[in-house]
Each structure stands twice: as C-alpha cells, then as structure tokens.
C-alpha cells in the first residue's frame, strides 16, 4: 500500500508504507507518517513523523517534525523539531525549538528560535523573487536625451579653484593664499624669521 489514510482511527493520519517509493510534492492538513522512501517536497500544517527505516530525499515543511529515520534535505519546523537517537539528517534546519537526542546525526546549517523560520522563509522568498525576475537587468534600447553641461571657459577654473581654497582655509591663517592675481603679498615680518633675510 503506497499511500493510505487510516479511516478507522479517530484522527486521520496519512501513512506512506514501508514498501512505498513516492516521488513528487505532497501536502497534508493533519498528521503524516512516512515509513518508506519519499523524494520531493512535503508541506504540512500538522505533524510529520519520519519513522525508523524511512528515507526522505525531500524538503519538509511542517508544524512539528519528528525524525527517526534518514532525511537528506532541508527541514523547516514552525513549532518543534525532534531528532531521535536513530535520526540521520543531512541538510539545513530551521525550527522554533529543537531537541536532538544523543545518538542522532545531523550535518548542516541550523537556525533555531522564534524568528528562525520566518527569516528562512523570507530568504526563500527573496530567492524565488530573484528566480522569477531576470538576472540581467535589461536597459531600454534608446537612452533618454541628456542635456549637456555647459563647458567651462578658460578663466572659470581659476576663480573656482581660488574660491575653493579660500573656503577651505578660512579658519586658518590664510594670508599666504593669493586671493587673485593682484593680491598684496604678506607682510615681510609675519614669517618665522621676522623679516631677516637668512642669506644676508
């Protein structure tokens, strides 16, 4: 029996039997028990129990995940993730709370906490958005017309640089900066040698 729902039980549980090999995406509302081999993606609002001997090559997203078997894929548990002693998990984990029993094997990245699941989903959302949007931004073939800046005349740059220097050195002693071409020279005795010519 590949995929059964036990009708006699009070609570409906979806079971993938030990002799089943399932490929594809699955979605549950309630509880699910995986005892066989499952490849693909599992999404559940309730609880998923991956039993001892089961093998999941899948991405699992559920409220509560209990792992007794082997999982090769990412696990996202909104509420709680329990790895029992015989669990073998290779993949990334995001969970509200995590219990790893001694003997369990886990290799991968781990995020645990109230914000871990939401941030993980946000990451997935951005990844999906980047997948849907083209990687290379296309530019319009015709560029909008750009008004050219007026070219500077021959003497504009002199006045501009002088005014820039004047502003930058306003706080300092700026008597040595020539304000313009006809600026007066600094006083001879204002320097370090008090106007005495060292060569004299």
């Amino acid at each position: 029996m590949a995929l059964t729902t036990s009708p006699d039980s009070r609570e409906l549980v979806t079971v993938i039997g030990p002799d089943a090999h399932f490929k594809g995406d699955m979605s549950f509302q309630g509880k699910a028990r995986v005892m066989g081999i499952l490849e693909g993606k599992i999404t559940a609002d309730g609880e998923i129990h991956i039993e001892n001997g089961a093998r999941c090559l899948a991405t699992v997203d559920a409220k509560v995940i209990t792992v007794d078997g082997e999982v090769d894929g990412n696990l996202t548990a909104r509420d709680r993730l329990h790895l029992s002693a015989k669990a073998v998990v290779k993949g990334d984990i995001a969970a509200g709370s995590l219990v790893v029993t001694e003997g369990a094997v886990f290799v991968g990245h781990c995020s645990v906490g109230p914000d871990a699941v939401s941030s993980k989903r946000a990451d997935l959302g951005t990844t999906r958005a980047s997948l849907t949007t083209p990687a290379v931004e296309t530019k319009p073939a015709i560029q909008p017309f750009r008004t050219p800046t007026p070219r500077k005349t021959g003497t504009d740059w002199v006045n501009e640089s002088a005014s820039t220097l004047n502003t930058a050195a306003a706080a300092k002693t700026n008597d040595w900066i020539p304000q313009h071409a006809g600026a007066a020279k600094p006083a001879a005795n204002s320097g370090w040698n008090n106007g005495v010519d060292p060569g004299a």
């Binding site: 709370s97 219990v99 001694e102 369990a104």
Partner: protein, 147 residues
C-alpha cells in the same frame, strides 16, 4: 602510632576522572584534583579544568578537557572553543567554531557560529543562528585538531 604509620595512612579512594585529549582524542584517566597535565599518547599539554564564564569576555581560543560553561548574563566571543566534555550555554556565545562532547544551549541562551559535537540539546526559547553543525558524526571528544 609512629610517624611512619602516619605517612602510610591510605589516601581516600576517590574515583579517577576519565578525560579525552582534545588533540588526539585519546581517552585516559586522571586524578580528580588534576588541573593540567600532558596527554600520555601525544604528550601535548592539556587543561583539565572546567572553564566558567561569568562576565562578557573576548578571547582567542579556549581548550579544555572539561566543560565550558557560559553563565546567564555572561557572553563569550572567541574564535574557537574546544571542550571535550561539553559546552553549556546559559548566556551568549559567539564563536567561529566550537567542538565539544555535549553541546547544551539552554533557554534564553543565544548561540552563533559553527558547532561540532557528540550531541546537541537546544531548549525551547534558545536562539541559534545559522552556523554549520556536525552532530553525532564523530566519537566522543573532538579530534583531528591541528597540531
């Protein structure tokens, strides 16, 4: 009772403490009061003490055959921590890599970094952010340490 008898009086029969070398993973017994020594197999120096962090500390590397305990309201920021018996986080631990026997991240604790250990316990309420974990893939006590 003579003086010689006094010297012959038996020492209290305290059980030896089993430890694992954090360089070569050799297991051997030490005296319970021993604080440091050398590994009988690789002859490297070892620290046997438990390291308890009670306040915010920035460190480079820490290594011990005992436990590393980060208490509540304490934080430990470091590059690498190796504790053969385990790491217990009640406060905050930021480490590039920790290796330990049993890694316990208590409730209200925060942990960031990569982790390698025999087993992992993350209590509800703890926050673990995104490092690489290897749990249960190697024998008790860290091994393959760079010499």
């Amino acid at each position: 009772m003579s003086v010689l008898d006094f010297h012959k009086s038996p020492t209290p029969n305290t059980p030896a403490r089993p430890v694992a070398c954090y360089h070569c993973n050799a297991r051997f017994n030490i005296a319970p009061a021993a604080r440091n020594g050398r590994c009988p197999k690789c002859a490297k120096r070892l620290v046997f003490d438990d390291l308890v962090v009670t306040r915010p500390i920035h460190a480079g590397d820490l290594a011990t055959c005992g436990l590393i305990v980060i208490e509540k309201k304490a934080s430990l920021t470091l590059r690498e921590a190796v504790a053969s018996e385990g790491v217990e986080v009640h406060g905050t631990l930021h480490a590039q890599r920790i290796e330990g026997g049993q890694v316990v991240i208590k409730k209200k604790a925060k942990f960031s970094g990569s982790c390698r250990g025999r087993s992992l316990v993350v209590e509800p309420g703890a926050v673990v952010s995104g490092g690489y974990f290897e749990i249960g893939t190697h024998r008790a006590g860290p091994s393959q340490q760079n010499s």
